[in-house]
């Protein structure tokens, strides 16, 4: 009873306050000057108004002394009356929502005014902004989106221009995190601005009054009426949908597909891929990219991605700016990124922005969540392989927050349970940790500190031990200038370490190691001139690479091998870039950019020189020359030109074309078909030239209702592709260039994609036809591969179909399914047998002349959410997943053994049976938190 009364009291009080404030507002907006104000001196006039109302005047003292207030209109509103009064003095009055009245003069005069005035002006304008934001907040907090509330941006009559630029941030009301890929739409004109990675948007409009609709996939749609007086800032916040019924899978934004200028671009949102079934219940956002058109792999369990015909080392993996040089856990079965902490990631495979460089095929840009600036929260989960825990919360409320996410395995324990001695004698551990701190110093400055750590410790039968470590940190400073220009600066450090202990054969037991250090400074300035037509981007980045190719050491008493030092490598790669996005007309956008790459391979280094005109072999070494520390051994420089154009045929259909050039200065030393766990990175040097590539693409995009449709085609050429001589052995080779040949890679393809982005049933289906062929031909016969004939790359799979479907039975229960088909991968078969010693040896066909059987897989998963009560301590989710439902034994490889004179083929399947897994995830708070 007591409680009820208190509640009623509270309610009453609430209504009273609401009513009072409404009343106040009504009074204020109704205020008009009557005749009693006429013919007063300015100072008396101000006094009277301030006494009678809540209005407060701001103006430069003495500027309006002895000015007599005269007006004739009584029916127009107060601000108009004021401006009529001030007209004769060429002054303007601006009223903000806090009822501050700022009197300013013609801009020309303003600029010469003393400091005192500018202070007042600045202050009042800031107040004005705050006030507006407050209003928007109030407005958006109301659940009825049709409440008619207004916001004003800028000052009335601030300038004589007809246009104004409005910019600001769209943030989540729940945790203050930026809303990325949100859309601010002007209903009257149809103009649309999408928010970037920081939730920033910018719009250019004719002055006037508009209705804005602000939306994003994860938030409730909001409407707001905006009076645009002049340039200004408008920050908006959106409330996250409590129950996201119509969850969509890929959030390359609805409006982006057609109106965006990007090609070959996909953005995956972790929140949206909850339903996609994956191996052993590990949510692995990176592996989802294999379901997108143009992304392939050699096979299950291999770590590399092959994007549009490129090799696995031609992709740059970035996690909050930190490059990750080994993106695999457990030798490739999982990716090294814990999806819990990932907000989203983007793949650029065609028109790559100029601020990215250094890889030929793609950029995988992973964005980690920002900590919640309002509340503490925690979540975690258990899958058959890992346990996960993530904690986040504010450091200073509304200003700064932290996020820590840890994932670790307990697979050792499971390995012990297996009735197989070899497995019982093996160990496998991995873990990864993400720390993210961000500080919003004020509206214009943001600093974030991020670190990423991962390791793998693998012990196979106590004979092969591998340890991998990725460690990195980035410090970023984002500076927003004049509400629209942006300066992003970061300092990045990444380190990849790997060591190996091999005791398979005691006589040649060895340890080996590798280290790569990446230190980078980058700065990128985005300049938006005072109209919507241009966005200009300039900046540079500079990377210092320090590689230690390791030292192979004998291990144990019985090892007879000699220590071999593979040496150290050092280089600086710098890119200076500029790009210009030009909205030529409302329907046509042209982006042009240049990135100038400079690469210096530095000492201390003992450079080896070989006889030209003949194949590089250790015996053809002519000279070695020692270069002192930091002396340039070899330098390369070249520009990358990048163009893209978008033409809107209708508001929902567009045509796009792009041309892209790239350069790559380091590569993986890999002689295996798939990327092997022991592969090391190598820098381009005086013998091995950097790789370069160019790509031409064309696409048609359409969106209608819940559907999106796109066709993209591309033609790609890569020069100086690093390939290896037949029988190349890099393990004990401290002259790897003698095993390397450089050739060409030609690829082309057509990618079709249809998406249904919302509704109970959503998902996508895509079909890709693509080819990728390698040519290593030279006039020197020994420098040929495959006799100088073109051969398909290891991942050349012409036909690929991916279907991803989600069906939402209810708010709590959803079913999803993947269907994956592709042509088998190319493989080399024996076409004869011959005898050597007493051994029967296969005679192989030309390289990759045959194919493995076609690949086909169906996965299904069922997700059951805990109850949807809004107020509860924790929310749990059950996730049952079946990978490879049909149990098809897809071939990873086909290999041959000669048994009693007969060549017998064997098919190796990695996941040759349905794999069931059950995962339980728990987090504090309700479903939506």
């Amino acid at each position: 009873m007591q409680i009820l009364i208190k509640s009623l009291q509270f309610l009453f009080l609430f209504f009273l306050i609401s009513f009072f404030s409404l009343h106040l507002q009504a009074q204020n907006t109704d205020f008009k000057l009557d005749n009693s104000y006429n013919n007063l001196l300015w100072n008396d006039f101000v006094k009277k108004v301030e006494q009678q109302t809540k209005y407060r005047f701001f103006y430069l003292p003495d500027s309006l002394d002895a000015f007599k207030v005269e007006f004739s209109e009584f029916d127009i509103d107060f601000s108009q009356q004021l401006n009529e009064i001030l007209k004769s003095r060429k002054a303007y009055a601006t009223i903000d929502k806090r009822q501050n009245i700022v009197v300013t003069f013609d801009k020309r005069i303003n600029s010469t005014l003393p400091d005192g005035f500018s202070n007042i002006k600045e202050k009042s304008i800031e107040n004005e902004f705050e006030n507006e934001n407050q209003t928007v907040e109030n407005y958006l907090n109301t659940t009825n989106s049709f409440v008619n509330k207004e916001v004003s941006v800028g000052r009335k009559n601030a300038d004589t221009k007809t246009d104004a630029v409005i910019s600001g941030f769209v943030k989540s009301k729940n945790d203050g995190s930026p809303i990325i890929g949100g859309v601010v739409q002007v209903n009257e004109t149809g103009d649309v601005a999408a928010t970037d990675n920081e939730g920033f948007y910018s719009l250019k409009l004719k002055k006037g009054t508009y209705n804005f609709t602000i939306s994003s996939l994860e938030s409730k749609k909001e409407q707001v009426k905006v009076n645009v007086y002049s340039d200004g800032r408008l920050d908006l916040s959106l409330e996250l949908k409590l129950i996201a019924l119509d969850e969509v899978l890929v959030s390359s934004e609805k409006d982006h597909v057609v109106t965006g200028t990007q090609m070959g671009f996909q953005k995956l949102d972790t929140k949206k891929i909850k339903e996609i079934p994956l191996v052993m219940g590990e949510k692995d956002i990176l592996k989802v990219s294999l379901l997108l058109p143009g992304v392939q792999s050699i096979g299950e369990g291999s770590s590399g991605f092959n994007v549009r015909g490129g090799t696995g080392d031609q992709n740059l993996f970035l996690i909050n700016q930190i490059p990750v040089y080994n993106s695999a856990h457990l030798l490739g079965f999982f990716s090294a990124f814990n999806s819990d902490a990932i907000k989203n990631f983007s793949i650029y495979s065609s028109s790559i922005p100029t601020w990215y460089g250094g890889r030929l095929s793609s950029i995988f840009d992973v964005n980690v969540k920002q900590g919640n600036t309002n509340n503490f929260s925690a979540n975690g989960g258990i899958s058959p392989i890992t346990t996960r825990l993530m904690v986040e919360g504010p450091i200073v409320k509304d200003k700064s927050a932290f996020l820590v996410s840890l994932r670790t395995t307990y697979s050792d324990w499971i390995l012990k349970q297996i009735d197989n001695l070899e497995i019982q004698n093996s160990k496998a551990q991995f873990a990864d940790l993400v720390n993210h701190f961000h500080f919003n110093l004020n509206n214009n400055h943001k600093i974030s500190l991020f670190s990423y750590h991962s390791f793998d410790k693998i012990n196979l039968l106590s004979q092969n031990k591998y340890n991998y470590f990725n460690n990195g940190a980035s410090l970023s400073w984002d500076y927003l200038i004049k509400s629209k220009h942006k300066l992003e600066t970061s300092l990045v450090y990444a380190q990849y370490d790997f060591d190996e202990e091999n005791t398979e054969l005691q006589a040649i037991a060895y340890t080996d190691n590798f280290q790569l250090k990446h230190t980078e400074f980058k700065s990128n300035f985005t300049f938006r001139p005072d109209n919507n037509k241009h966005t200009i981007n300039i900046g540079f980045n500079s990377i210092l690479y320090n590689l230690n190719q390791g030292t192979l050491l004998p291990f144990g008493e019985n090892s007879i091998i000699a220590p071999v030092s593979m040496g150290e490598e050092k280089a600086i790669e710098t890119g200076i870039f500029a790009s210009h996005e030009w909205n030529v007309s409302p329907v046509f956008t042209l982006t042009s950019g240049i990135r100038y790459n400079q690469y210096f391979f530095l000492g201390a280094y003992e450079a080896r020189f070989y006889e030209s005109e003949i194949v590089r072999l250790p015996e053809n070494l002519t000279e070695t020359k020692f270069f002192d520390k930091n002396k340039v051994v070899k330098s390369y420089q070249a520009p990358d030109f990048r163009f893209s154009a978008r033409y809107l045929v209708t508001p929902s259909i567009s045509l796009k074309a792009s041309y892209n050039q790239m350069h790559q200065y380091l590569f993986l030393l890999s002689t295996t078909v798939a990327i092997a766990p022991t592969d090391k990175w190598k820098l381009a040097d005086n013998n091995i030239k950097p790789m370069n590539g160019e790509q031409l693409s064309f696409g048609v995009y359409a969106a209608k209702g819940k559907y999106e449709f796109s066709v993209e085609s591309y033609l790609k050429k890569i020069n100086n592709l690093v390939e290896y001589k037949d029988g190349a052995n890099l393990l004990l080779n401290n002259t790897p260039e003698t095993d390397i040949l450089q050739g060409k890679l030609n690829s082309f393809g057509v990618e079709l994609m249809i998406k249904k982005i919302s509704g109970r049933l959503n998902g996508w289906v895509n079909y890709t036809y693509s080819r990728a062929k390698v040519l290593v031909a030279s006039e020197i016969p020994e420098a040929n591969i495959n006799f100088g004939k073109e051969y398909p790359s290891n991942y050349d799979k012409p036909h690929a179909v991916n279907l991803v479907a989600n069906y939402q039975f209810s708010r709590r229960l959803s079913l999803s399914s993947n269907l994956v088909y592709s042509t088998g991968r190319p493989i080399t078969y024996p076409v004869g047998i011959f005898n050597m010693g007493n051994r029967q040896v296969p005679l192989y066909s030309l390289r990759n002349e045959y194919r493995t059987p076609d690949y086909f897989r169906v996965d299904v998963s069922l997700k059951l959410e805990g109850n949807l009560a809004a107020k509860k301590l924790a929310h749990g989710t059950w996730f049952l997943s079946v990978y490879n439902l049909t149990g098809r034994k897809n071939a990873y490889s086909i290999y041959f053994e000669v048994e009693e004179g007969v060549m017998q083929a064997y098919k190796l399947s990695i996941f040759g049976a349905p794999i069931f897994s059950l995962t339980y995830s728990i987090k504090l708070g309700n479903y939506a938190n």
């Binding site: 058959p384 093996s426 050597m836 086909i894 007969v902």
Partner: protein
């Protein structure tokens, strides 16, 4: 081995990964000439084998018997080899002899085409210091087998630019499982033989190709080089075992060839297979240099060593015949038994019983009852 380990690892706790037989359609058969010859500093005769590659789908050996095979040295001396059988050509005993430091060439003429090797210099041989063994376990999946792992130490050599090829040859003595009591040719014709267990010797060149590049060694001596493993799952160690090692010192090119031969067998089935390719040797067709010729003319300085091992004190697990007492009793009830039937003792119980013929005659297991000349008891 690595292959398998990686694979098992892939299996982890899902035993879903699997290997199964597969029958790809290979419609292509490359009929290519294969020439394999050895010339050493040891006394001849030397052997050259000329054949064609075998069809994968129809693996019938294809020896070339009508070739003209000539061994030449750098001074113009030569010897024409005689075809003995199955495409194997030999020099005369006491004929052409290899000498260290001299250059040699192999010429093979077939059907109007001439195949010529590059000039190969005979390297100086490195001696074998010792061959020895340890009792070790070999793990294959869940099966642990005990046995002997053989090792080799070379003698020290002066410089590290040495390359080795070892082709082990084993000879083992073994006995038939049972002594033969009687042979029953009919229900009525039963001959008493009373033959004790027969003794045989079997010699095999092992399929292991072992190679080593000395420039990878810390010191100019190779120690504890693993040779073959002999398990207790077969009869090989049951009586007396002998291992003969031909330690061939070869040049770098020959090493690269043989090492590739070795690797192609080891790598198959790996999670991280290397790209297989056509292995090229040192033979070329004179008329058409583009023509693919397989095989190698290996010129090696050879050192030999043999060791003997008696039956080790291990538990043997090979299957052994036991006389079937009941079958012998039942044979009279059997409507039409096949004859002859062989009757042996059960050594423990002394009972007589039937057993298969191969249980009494060791030759039927592959060996010969002729004691090899070199054999030391």
């Amino acid at each position: 081995m690595r292959t398998k380990i990686l694979l098992y690892f892939a299996v982890l706790f899902i035993s879903s990964s699997c290997i199964e037989k597969y029958f790809p359609t290979i419609d292509e058969y490359k009929q290519i000439i294969v020439i394999e010859g050895f010339l050493t500093n040891l006394e001849g005769p030397y052997q050259v084998k000329v054949s064609e590659t075998v069809d994968v789908n129809n693996p019938v050996p294809k020896p070339i018997t009508n070739a003209e095979v000539i061994l030449k040295d750098e001074f113009g001396n030569f010897e024409i080899l005689n075809h003995r059988k199955d495409g194997l050509y030999y020099t005369q005993a006491g004929g052409f002899g290899g000498e260290i430091g001299k250059k040699y060439q192999l010429e093979v003429k077939v059907n109007g085409k001439t195949y010529l090797s590059s000039m190969e210099t005979m390297p100086e041989p490195v001696g074998i210091d010792s061959i020895y063994y340890q009792i070790e376990e070999n793990i294959d999946n869940t099966i642990v087998t005990e046995g002997l792992q053989f090792y080799l130490d070379t003698e020290p050599f002066e410089s590290k630019d040495k390359y080795f090829l070892w082709i082990p040859e084993e000879t083992y003595q073994y006995t038939s499982d049972l002594g033969l009591k009687q042979i029953m040719y009919d229900y009525t014709v039963i001959i008493t033989v009373n033959q004790s267990n027969t003794v045989c010797w079997q010699t095999d060149t092992l399929p292991d190709v072992l190679t080593l590049a000395a420039n990878e060694l810390s010191e100019p001596v190779a120690r504890k080089i693993p040779l073959n493993f002999v398990g207790t799952e077969s009869k090989r160690l049951s009586v007396r075992y002998s291992l003969l090692i031909n330690q061939m010192t070869i040049d770098k090119k020959a090493y690269e060839f043989w090492n590739t031969i070795r690797l192609q067998a080891v790598e198959s089935g790996s999670l991280y297979p290397r790209q297989p390719y056509q292995i090229r040797g040192n033979m070329k067709c004179v008329e058409n240099p583009e023509e693919i010729v397989l095989g190698y003319f290996t010129v090696a300085g050879v050192a030999k060593k043999r060791i003997y091992v008696g039956r080790p004190n291990l538990i043997f697990e090979y299957p052994i015949c036991t006389p079937d007492v009941q079958a012998l009793k039942d044979i009279y009830k059997h409507p039409r038994p096949s004859f002859p039937q062989y009757i042996g003792y059960n050594e423990v119980t002394g009972d007589k019983g039937l057993a298969a013929q191969r249980c009494f005659y060791c030759e039927m297991e592959g060996g010969t009852m002729l004691k090899p000349d070199f054999w030391e008891d």
